[in-house]
Symmetry: C2
Subunit: 322 residues, 2 copies
Amino acid sequence: MSLTALTSNDARLIEQGYPDTDSRAFRRCLGQYPTGVAVITARHNGKLLGMAVNSFAAVSLDPPLVLWSIRRESARAADFCEAEHLAVNVLSANQVQVSQWFGSAHPDRFQMAAWEPDAHGAPLLDGAIAHLECRRHAVLDGGDHFILLMRVERHASYQGEPLLFAQGQYAVTQSHPYVLASREATATAPASDVAVVPLLRLLSIANQRMSAQFQQHREALGLNTSSTRVLNKLGVGACSVEELERLTYLGHEAVEDTLADLQAHSYIAKDAAGRFELTRSGRDTNAAIAARSAAFAAGKLQGLSESDVAAAKRVLLALQDR
Amino acid sequence: MSLTALTSNDARLIEQGYPDTDSRAFRRCLGQYPTGVAVITARHNGKLLGMAVNSFAAVSLDPPLVLWSIRRESARAADFCEAEHLAVNVLSANQVQVSQWFGSAHPDRFQMAAWEPDAHGAPLLDGAIAHLECRRHAVLDGGDHFILLMRVERHASYQGEPLLFAQGQYAVTQSHPYVLASREATATAPASDVAVVPLLRLLSIANQRMSAQFQQHREALGLNTSSTRVLNKLGVGACSVEELERLTYLGHEAVEDTLADLQAHSYIAKDAAGRFELTRSGRDTNAAIAARSAAFAAGKLQGLSESDVAAAKRVLLALQDR
């Protein structure tokens, strides 16, 4: 056992507890494990089924098995459990909207999303980075969920980056910074002084470092990424839960949890129309974030010439449009 | 059904097949779904157990259940399945080494990693972003794997970013670019012209766009991120599989698959000591990547003044060290 363990973990603790006494805190903790987003589809009794989940997991290669879970209480649980053929669509980073349509059981989701049926009529969504065409293998008892074990009969992979769901919000992947750093050291990059590849690496490393550091300022105000993002949106005007979900790229549960948390701190309140708006204290908090980010900015850029910073912005803006 | 589906998917197809006839291709397809990395630990019969997995999934809130899978043929399967108490450690972005130690069953892994025992002796790893203390609930049949369903008795979350495993390689999360773009539009950012927060957003958006575009150049050469990375490392000198795994931040299976693929293309060969080295054709391919990246660079930076680009690099380099 290490001697350094206790102190280092304690300093970073967000929350701890017992799932039997606080299932919301438990759900937040489960959200620490990042996942992709898969839309499970089927055609059953002539009806199209589709649901965005992040409980997908690979299980076995031989036989080829995968699994996912659905709430017993879900109105669609019986249909999904009875469907003999199902498809898994692994969503790409471009498919946040698709994830939201299938997360909320939007009535027009099969009109809005482009798809084609597989051999058994299960919708294969256009733009996904993988399709798995499956046959039901077993339905297992998973507490308040059913675990659907499915046998994969056919698979296809497509170019694209995966969509991520991590710590309650949609995200995308980027190369691990250590890879970038080590590629820097041993690069086969061209010798040209204006090569964009080294510039890209610089971008990525600087970006990582700054984001991680600013995170500490949020935490010093008792905020996290989710609450900062919700406060930011409410700073523009009152929003409903659905609007916040769409605007913040947070998951439904993360929005609800964050709103409950911000209400408990009296940062927000419901207006007459039932939408959420900032209180005086919420506006003050937004101002405090802005002040911190200004101070953070000034500190980071200290010693750099204004003309260099302006030039850097010109370069970054130009790269955005190319 | 959409009319646009077929063509758009076809253009992006990487590979398709039947898991029963090619389980390696199936495994690569499963790798399209991104996951976190969890180290499952236990103390059983006085012996410490630890294994890095990416098959972890949340299942149920009430009762609180999670699951993961272990190969039936694993030497440690019996111990893990018999252990009554187990812990899940969700790794942070800083724990690639920990993931590698526990992925390879490194003999000194419990000496090298810092940890403390939970109430039942299961190691809780220092630096993880979540700890779940669990009791075995059920061991289910999962084909060539056992599915371990575990009841969570206690949980804790810690500050930090998650480690990702996506498309065969270690990665980290970043905010979804649409979020960044919409924050740009409605920002509560300070008015100061040199604020680093807007600069950060510019960084992140430019970085995203350039990475995605350069990906297309790799693909035009029949390469992907993994093969480019392995060729890059071998350009520095011959490596063993283990060295490549450590140096490239690719997973063990991705390294093996990539090596098999590069050998099939005659880009690499084994040297007298059994390590892999570039062939003439492999060196030519590395040179072609370098030439493409130089051309890409020149194209992207065209029209920007050399002094602006140099200034941008000064700013990014300075930000890296702050």
